[in-house]
Amino acid sequence: MYGVGLVKGMGVTIKHFVNTYVDDLRWFGRRYYNPEAFAVRQSPQAQGIFTVQYPEEKLIMPEEFRYIPFLIYDELEDGTRQDRCTSCGICAKVCPPQCIWIVRSDDPETGRPIPEPSEFFIDIDICMNCGLCSEYCPFEAIRMDHDYEISTYDRFSENIYNKEKLDKPASFYAAVRPLNYAIDEAAIAEKVAKKAAKEAARKQRQAEKDRKTDE
């Protein structure tokens, strides 16, 4: 019969319309501005419309969410900052839109490169948030941020991030991406252990050598 399809379709629309109110009742009118309800509203169990009341409500970023990169420094016990970055330049080389500029530090006396950057720029107008820099960084020094609210009034002066603006403490990293942080810490610990083992082996060999020459 003509019109049956239309009526059925309207039935679906009505169901969608009613669903939201049913869901609201289920939460006793606390469907919005309620973290618990919000988590359900954004999951496969969601019923009814799932509009996010931004900025009062914000989506929970998954760990892997990536936005503009930042640089990590470790806070040493005496309070000084130590950059993890060694200015090896891999991030600048792998960056698809080439938005990273690094100035390598040179020892003022010998003129030989030392492993830390004197300048580090990222033009965030060009950055495409692909995350390749953090993926291929061999020193766990550059990682992707979660902060997406970075609009500015002047793109010329504020959108080239310098080292000061990019630098974040390791504790910040641990807060934003706890799982990745744990993986990185394990990797660093492994590297340190390897280095120590190598050092120990070298010393032992040296000692043996010394003993042999003594004999």
Partner: protein, 587 residues
């Protein structure tokens, strides 16, 4: 590599020797290291192509492109032809001098070559004699030079290949606008003034439209031909896309699509990039299906490098590619209804479900749309904990219900039926001739799906049906998409049940992969149709040629054919049923 590929060629042509024997003096095997297929003399090309189509059954021309071999002073045109029953490609090439590249057009043999030859003319300056309407297609008329030529440099030119030298170790940070200020960043031909320019390209465009004359013979009214521009700024075009239609009353008599408003010369960027840098750029082609775009590019480069991803990575790839198909088809169905005038209610019901899948993508890859998740020989990272469970909930419970709901909501709707059934019919013969791909081809009764015709990844392990319909109209394209969502759900259900534990990357992840010299064509069944990546390597860190066979772009070749004889309002529905993405059309 050549040895490995040769049995495939045997499979296509039965005996490769016989093909050469059939075309004595015309055909020579391409014997360059890492290359494949045959070289054909340009003056014999039309004869060869006609016989290839009629006697050997290669009725589907998938890809036409050019390669600029600057050091050899040679311009090469590469063709990939298929049999519509399935099987690997027959690759043939023709070489002409770079200074005067003239190749006979194959539009007469395979009408699907139309836009692709125009693209090769536009970007590489290869002249196709006998082409009915050889005008620029992506660049504007009056543009100087052919930008994909290796010696052509853009206004903001820095270096021929990335990484650029001034980024490290002495980072010289500056804005390119400071060095080349606005106003000096465009090159014009010497006699050209922007103010005095009259767009003569449009003259050619309008002249190419079919003319009608109806002076009224007493039995009918005298009518004038009316030319209407739909777009570039038009809500129905899904982006910046223009259709020039000639009307007889309200009936469309001819149509020409005009594109390139979003052109950024993706392929030139790709040839500047290193191999890994291209991965995030492929996301931006068909931005609704970035995971499958990644898949196609990864396949092409993996073919060149001769590596295989591990089992777990293969399964995750299939899961992601199929979820992408669901996302893209939901969007296509929703927006088809928008184009029919059901403003946004159906679209939002579809987008609602899409959003949940995008959450999965975000958790897995870090981004909802620009996923950048595939790597050569594997994936960027393993699935985070809990994701597989979310996918299970979606794929076993929510999505099947919601697709059924969409089915009840739309399929029997009388308005949808009367607007869609019998509108924009593309016959099977025409669909093959115009190189249509994806749902457009399958709705015309051709059960051609790359996942079946030439399985890639691990698609040969899954049980699924190729959705096919026989009406070839807008309604059937809608039904094919709905059916494909169901089949994709089936594939993901099988994949999440079988997924093994293990590594997700072959070897160590390296940022500068070594790709041996040669060529490779990786193709995948994208939601929009066959997406192909033709990559030529010369052993350097950057690809020598990086070409994309964009399904949305090539599906538009058949648009005029579908629209003729229908009303203006139907043009909008027909365009919606092809489901174009301008990021991919314009590249």
């Amino acid at each position: 590599m050549t040895d490995k590929e040769s049995p495939q060629v045997e499979g296509t042509t039965r005996e490769p020797d016989s093909l050469e024997q059939h075309f004595p003096g015309i055909l020579t095997p391409d014997e360059r290291e890492g290359f494949d297929g045959y070289l054909v003399a340009p003056d014999k090309l039309t004869e060869f192509a006609t016989r290839l189509r009629d006697e050997f059954g290669y009725d589907y021309l998938s890809s036409v492109t050019g390669v600029d071999y600057l050091p050899d002073e040679v311009m090469e045109v590469v063709y990939h032809a298929y049999r519509i029953e399935g099987g690997p490609a027959l690759v043939f090439k023709t070489q002409v001098p770079r200074a005067d590249p003239v190749v006979p057009s194959l539009v007469g043999v395979w009408p699907g070559a139309d836009f692709q030859e125009r693209e090769a003319w536009d970007l590489l300056g290869i002249r196709f004699t006998g082409h009915p309407n050889l005008r620029r297609i992506l660049m504007w008329e009056g543009f100087e030079g052919h930008p994909l030529r290796k010696d052509w440099h853009e206004a903001y030119f820095e270096e021929d290949a990335k990484p650029f030298a001034n980024r490290w170790p002495e980072g010289d940070v500056y804005r390119i606008e400071d060095k080349i200020p606005f106003g000096k960043n465009v090159q014009y031909p010497s006699e050209f003034t922007p103010e005095g320019w009259i767009p003569e390209g449009d003259e050619g465009l309008y002249a190419g439209l079919g003319q009608i004359s109806n002076d009224g013979d007493g039995s009918s009214l005298k009518t004038d031909q009316l030319v209407v521009n739909l777009g570039p700024q038009h809500p129905s075009t899904h982006g910046v896309f223009r259709m020039v239609v000639t009307l007889d009353g309200e009936t469309v008599t001819d149509l020409k699509p005009v594109m390139g408003y979003l052109h950024r010369n993706h392929e030139k960027i790709g040839e500047r990039n290193t191999y890994i840098m291209n991965m995030p750029y492929t996301d931006r082609l068909d931005y609704l299906s970035s995971m499958s775009n990644n898949f196609g590019y990864a396949l092409a480069v993996e073919k060149l490098m001769d590596i295989q991803p591990p089992e777990r990575a293969e399964y995750i790839r299939v899961i992601m590619a199929e979820l992408t198909r669901i996302v893209s088809h939901l969007w296509a169905i929703g927006f088809l209804l928008n184009d029919l005038g059901a403003f946004f209610t159906p679209a939002l019901y579809a987008i609602n479900e899409r959003e949940l899948i995008l959450d999965v993508f975000e958790a897995v890859s870090g981004s909802r749309m620009m996923c950048n998740y595939f790597r050569f020989g594997g994936l960027a990272r393993d699935l985070p904990p809990g994701t597989l469970q979310t996918i299970r909930e979606l794929i076993f419970e929510r999505l099947p219900r919601r697709v059924d709901e969409l089915d009840i909501y739309l399929t029997e709707n009388e308005i949808v039926r009367s607007r869609c059934i019998g509108v924009g019919v593309l016959s099977p013969e025409k669909a093959v001739a115009f190189s249509a791909a994806g749902p457009v081809l399958r709705a015309s009764g051709i059960p051609y799906d790359v996942r079946r015709a030439e399985p890639y990844g691990i698609y040969d392990r899954f049980d699924f049906e190729v959705a096919v319909r026989y009406g070839g109209d807008v309604y059937d394209r809608y039904l094919v998409r709905l059916q494909e969502i169901r089949e994709s759900i089936r594939i993901v259900q099988q994949a999440v049940d079988d997924i093994p534990e293990g590594e997700i990357q072959t070897g160590k992840p390296i940022f500068q992969v070594r790709v041996p010299a040669g060529e490779a064509y990786g193709r995948v069944e994208n939601p929009k149709g066959e997406l192909g990546f033709y990559v030529v390597s010369n052993g350097k860190p950057n690809p020598w040629r990086y070409h994309i066979r964009a399904p949305s772009f090539i599906n538009l070749t058949a648009l005029a054919e579908m629209c003729k004889g229908h009303k203006v309002a139907d043009v909008v529905a027909i365009l919606g049923s092809i489901d174009i993405i301008l990021g991919e059309v314009d590249r």
